[in-house]
């Protein structure tokens, strides 16, 4: 394990979200995430995730119960194919970064996804977000695509993927769905 993970402050608690916690934490979650966004998401976006996949959301709380970090995810079949987990939002409060907190949060959400039978896990991050890319790469994610001008600010993103199970050949989706011309080497 890296230094960052070993240094994670011991006094932090990692808590799984539950709808009963909405009144206590939702506005803090929103605040923490929107601090890093140029354009805010409506409350509906948060509810969309938390109501349907509250168990994939984890919060890092300090001894005063204030929110230090959060991860929000979903898990559903992707285009009728594999069960795909998706990490939608991840943030750690500024003064607490680089201590492995985000790594812990991501691992917790990954563990639940795997327990709930995920086939693969995806996410996107801005191509300049070194900290996030390092974090995901160390956990075993690979970059699978570069998404040109993906964000509203015109920046590009990398799609990161982690396979949990070998792909079944039956899954044909996304760009690979186009029929292949049978272009083969001439038989000898």
């Amino acid at each position: 394990m890296s230094k960052a993970t070993l240094d994670a402050p011991a006094e932090l608690r990692y808590v799984q979200y539950h709808s009963s916690k909405e009144r206590t934490y939702l506005s803090a979650i929103r605040q923490l995430i929107s601090d890093d966004l140029s354009e805010p998401y409506s409350i509906y976006v948060y509810r969309y995730f938390l109501y349907q996949w509250g168990d994939l959301c984890f919060m890092a709380l300090d001894e005063d119960e204030s929110l230090i970090g959060v991860v929000i995810s979903k898990l559903e079949p992707h285009r009728g194919g594999p069960m795909r987990g998706y990490i939608a939002m991840l943030a750690v409060r500024e003064g607490y970064r680089g201590k492995g907190i985000a790594t812990q949060l991501v691992r917790k959400t990954l563990d639940v996804m795997i327990e709930r039978d995920a086939d693969e896990i995806a996410l996107e991050t801005e191509v300049t977000n070194t900290a996030a890319m390092k974090l995901y790469e160390r956990l075993g994610f690979l970059r699978s695509k570069r998404l040109h001008r993906y964000y509203l600010n015109g920046n590009s993103a990398f799609r990161f993927m982690l396979l949990i199970k070998e792909k079944s050949a039956a899954y044909e989706y996304e760009d690979e769905a186009q029929p292949q011309l049978p272009i083969r080497p001439p038989s000898t």
């Binding site: 409350i43 939002m89 570069r146 040109h148 038989s187």
Partner: protein, 774 residues
């Protein structure tokens, strides 16, 4: 921060997507107040008898109070896509109609005020910046359409060119000629240029939103008006400025004339009619010549910041929340414009490339230059390549393909004889050939089937090998052709991954070496996805395929008793292509092999970073699956299975067990270093061969290298690959020298490796690491 759908916001902000925040109403501590506020006023009554309005506030609150906090109301078709499009009313960042107290709805700027020459210059240059941000992919609503002047010209929609003026309701209002004559002419020229640019882009393949935003927000870009009328307006303005000797100093006059001239020339350069004319290159050149003066006189201008305003966005038919105006500096705008003009001029060189293989080299070389040509230019090139069913304006698709078949697989063959098409008698084999070739060309129909059918009309003689005289080997020319290009494309896809920074360093070698924290090396071969190894595999497959094609062409040539000059020329051309393709595939193969071994060496000794070990999630086999996924649905060439792949990779690791390090026997440093040096020797051999090949390529004549028309860029690119190759050889020498001195030392104490970023490499496809002695 990172929704798949973040972009969708733009399209989805429509009333149906609005979601009320139920919980705030039903459970926030002050919800009683909220209700109070909503209670009193009577609903406004519509004048129309058919519509009866009713105040539903209390029903709404009653319904909302039945929900728990955080409970989601949605049907199963309501996706994340739509959720992200939801917005909150009265949030200034989301609600485009939100006004702070005292704020007016309208943008406050008097477009009819008199302008000074320096102000006109300033506004023109600001507009140029916005025109360029639009070219860069930002919407008009965040660029040109934020100008009060442009807004006034284009809205309400002018029915005649005369209506497109600043004083929309009055016949003659305030303002001076600099405004009504000069700035207006400039704006008309600018808008019409945008019209041509947009139409060109929309007629071609491009990525909407990512590359270019076509949206006009229900405005028109003077598309109903003639270019000649607008040019006349610009000329009138120029005549006026020329005569204003009394009221304007020379530098101002010259600066204004320069800008008007640029507008006029640019407008002619982008116009649609006659774009295939080579003379267009001259117009682009002329624009380029005007730029230095534009640059020098920019300082004379006084920008009028408040003639642009974000509030103008509100008048545009758009469902997007307010978005910031995107600004770039004048210098940046100028360098963009200069790039467009240069590339516009250079694009016309494609008309010299003619044959298919040359055309391909041109397109690839031109489009991959850095900085990348702008979207408009890329679309212009596409139009030059193919429009109105003609390639380069003159060649039919069939001619192009036949020419390519001939060059690659069918020199002087009856299959590609254009005269076949004239035969009308079905019993004539050439009639049958023509029918089948057309099917292949137009429908890309089953190549193997057609190849098999064609044999009986061409009377093809199969090859029989001495060792197996009963086995017939057929040429399959069309399948061979298609397979060649398929392999080529697969190589490009792999190489493009380097350009896009998709691969991580530990993937490059094909394996990496886990080093424990303890001083003793505990090796564990972990075969990862080997990008360079896979590239090598593809290139060597292509090499074999070229050999096969050559064998059949040679076989056919031998059977022609007295070849005519025409036949000889055709064969010579084909063999020259095959020779060059062989050289190029072999160069690719060696370089890829060399780098794969070099990275293996570095990974072996822990000189490049390895991911966590054990990898907390995923396994090498799963990572491999993910990496080769784009190719899995390609049946041939088959993607090697993971075990097959892993065994090939470990060839260079001298058969080590892939597995958990705890199952490994600890080896000594000397042993590890010896093995690493052995890998280094493989790398050395391959990279020496690669250097020889790439140097040979760099000396190839333009005709042979099929780079006529783009020789200078092509040579520059090859030169960079040669440099990369030489650097790789130097890195090997450095490593060997250091290792020979320190047989038993920890390599990390004697060598240091820096992985170079893709934009700092000599060539983005060849990721040569920097290795330095410590």
């Amino acid at each position: 921060m990172n929704f798949e759908v973040v972009k969708a916001i733009a399209q989805l902000r429509k009333p149906g997507d609005l979601m009320a925040d139920f919980s705030k109403l039903s459970s926030a501590p002050d919800h009683h107040d909220v209700r109070q506020q909503h209670h009193s006023p009577l609903p406004p009554q519509s004048k129309s008898k058919r519509i009866v309005t009713q105040n539903v506030t209390s029903e709404f609150f009653a319904a909302a109070s039945a929900l728990n906090t955080g409970q989601l109301v949605k049907d199963e078709y309501f996706t994340l896509f739509e959720a992200v499009g939801a917005l909150e009313i009265m949030d200034p960042k989301m609600d485009s109609g939100f006004l702070t107290s005292g704020e007016s709805v309208e943008h406050d700027y008097d477009v009819l005020r008199e302008l000074l020459p320096e102000e006109v210059l300033g506004i023109m240059d600001q507009m140029l910046c916005f025109e360029m941000t639009w070219h860069m992919g930002h919407p008009l609503s965040q660029s040109l359409f934020t100008s009060a002047y442009i807004d006034q010209l284009l809205w309400p929609d002018p029915k005649t060119l005369e209506q497109a003026r600043f004083e929309r309701d009055k016949t003659s209002g305030p303002g001076n000629k600099l405004l009504h004559l000069v700035l207006r002419a400039y704006c008309l020229g600018l808008v019409k240029t945008c019209d041509f640019v947009r139409r060109r882009i929309m007629s071609e393949h491009y990525y909407e939103e990512e590359d270019f935003v076509v949206s006009l927000y229900h405005r028109k870009l003077l598309d109903d008006f003639e270019l000649s009328d607008i040019s006349t307006k610009i000329e009138d303005a120029m005549a006026f400025v020329t005569k204003e000797i009394e009221s304007m100093d020379r530098p101002f006059r010259d600066a204004l004339l320069n800008r008007l001239q640029l507008r006029k020339t640019l407008l002619s350069a982008v116009q649609s009619d006659g774009f295939l004319d080579r003379q267009r290159a001259r117009l682009w050149e002329r624009c380029l010549e005007l730029l230095p003066m534009l640059s020098q006189t920019n300082k004379l201008g006084v920008p009028i910041e408040n003639s642009f305003g974000i509030k103008i966005q509100r008048k545009l038919a758009s469902s997007v929340p307010p978005r910031p105006i995107v600004r770039i500096s004048f210098d940046e705008a100028l360098s963009r414009l200069s790039g467009i003009c240069q590339n516009g001029r250079d694009a016309y060189r494609i008309l010299d490339s003619q044959a298919g293989t040359r055309l391909m080299t041109f397109v690839l070389t031109y489009q991959s230059r850095i900085p990348q040509p702008s979207i408009y230019i890329r679309c212009l090139l596409q139009s030059l390549v193919f429009s109105e069913m003609r390639v380069l304006g003159t060649i039919s698709l069939k001619q192009l393909l036949f020419d390519d078949f001939e060059e690659l697989v069918l020199p002087a063959d009856i299959l590609v004889d254009p005269a076949n098409g004239d035969i009308e008698a079905p019993q004539d084999p050439r009639f049958q050939i023509s029918k089948r070739m057309d099917a292949f060309v137009t429908k890309a129909a089953d190549a193997e089937g057609i190849d098999t059918e064609l044999r009986k009309y061409t009377k093809e003689e199969p090859i029989r090998e001495l060792s197996a005289p009963n086995e017939e080997i057929w040429s399959f020319p069309l399948s061979s052709w298609a397979y060649y290009y398929k392999l080529r494309q697969m190589e490009w896809i792999v190489q493009m991954g380097f350009e896009l920074d998709i691969y991580q360093v530990d993937e490059l070698a094909g394996m990496y070496w886990y080093l424990d924290w303890k001083p003793l090396h505990r090796p564990c071969v972990r075969a990862e996805v080997a990008i360079y190894r896979y590239l090598q595999h593809l290139a060597s497959t292509r090499l074999q395929h070229i050999e096969r094609i050559r064998t059949f062409s040679a076989h056919r040539l031998k059977r022609i008793a007295n070849p005519t000059l025409k036949q000889k020329t055709s064969f010579r051309r084909s063999f020259s292509f095959l020779d060059f393709a062989t050289l190029e595939a072999s160069a690719t193969q060696s370089f890829a092999e060399g780098l794969s071994c070099l990275f293996s060496f570095l990974a072996h000794l822990g000189l490049i970073p390895a991911p966590y070990h054990p990898l907390p999630y995923g396994t090498p086999a799963l990572r491999y699956s993910l990496r080769v996924q784009p190719f899995l649905s390609v049946s041939l060439p088959e993607v090697p299975s993971y075990p097959e792949f892993a065994s090939r990779v470990s060839l260079h690791t001298l058969e080590r067990d892939a597995g958990d390090p705890s199952h490994q026997t600890a080896s000594t440093k000397i042993e590890t270093n010896d093995q690493a040096v052995a890998i280094l020797d493989f790398a050395d051999q391959a990279l020496k061969a690669a250097r020889k090949d790439w140097e040979a390529i760099s000396k190839t004549k333009a005709e042979t290298a099929r780079c006529v028309g783009c020789e200078d860029w092509w040579r520059a690119s090859v030169k960079n690959i040669v440099r990369a190759c030489i650097t790789a050889n130097i890195m090997i020498a450095t490593s060997k020298k250091a290792m020979s001195k320190a047989a038993s030392q920890d390599a990390r104490e004697i060598l240091k490796v820096e992985v170079v970023k893709s934009n700092e490499l000599y060539h983005a496809w060849w990721m040569v690491p920097r290795i330095l002695p410590k």
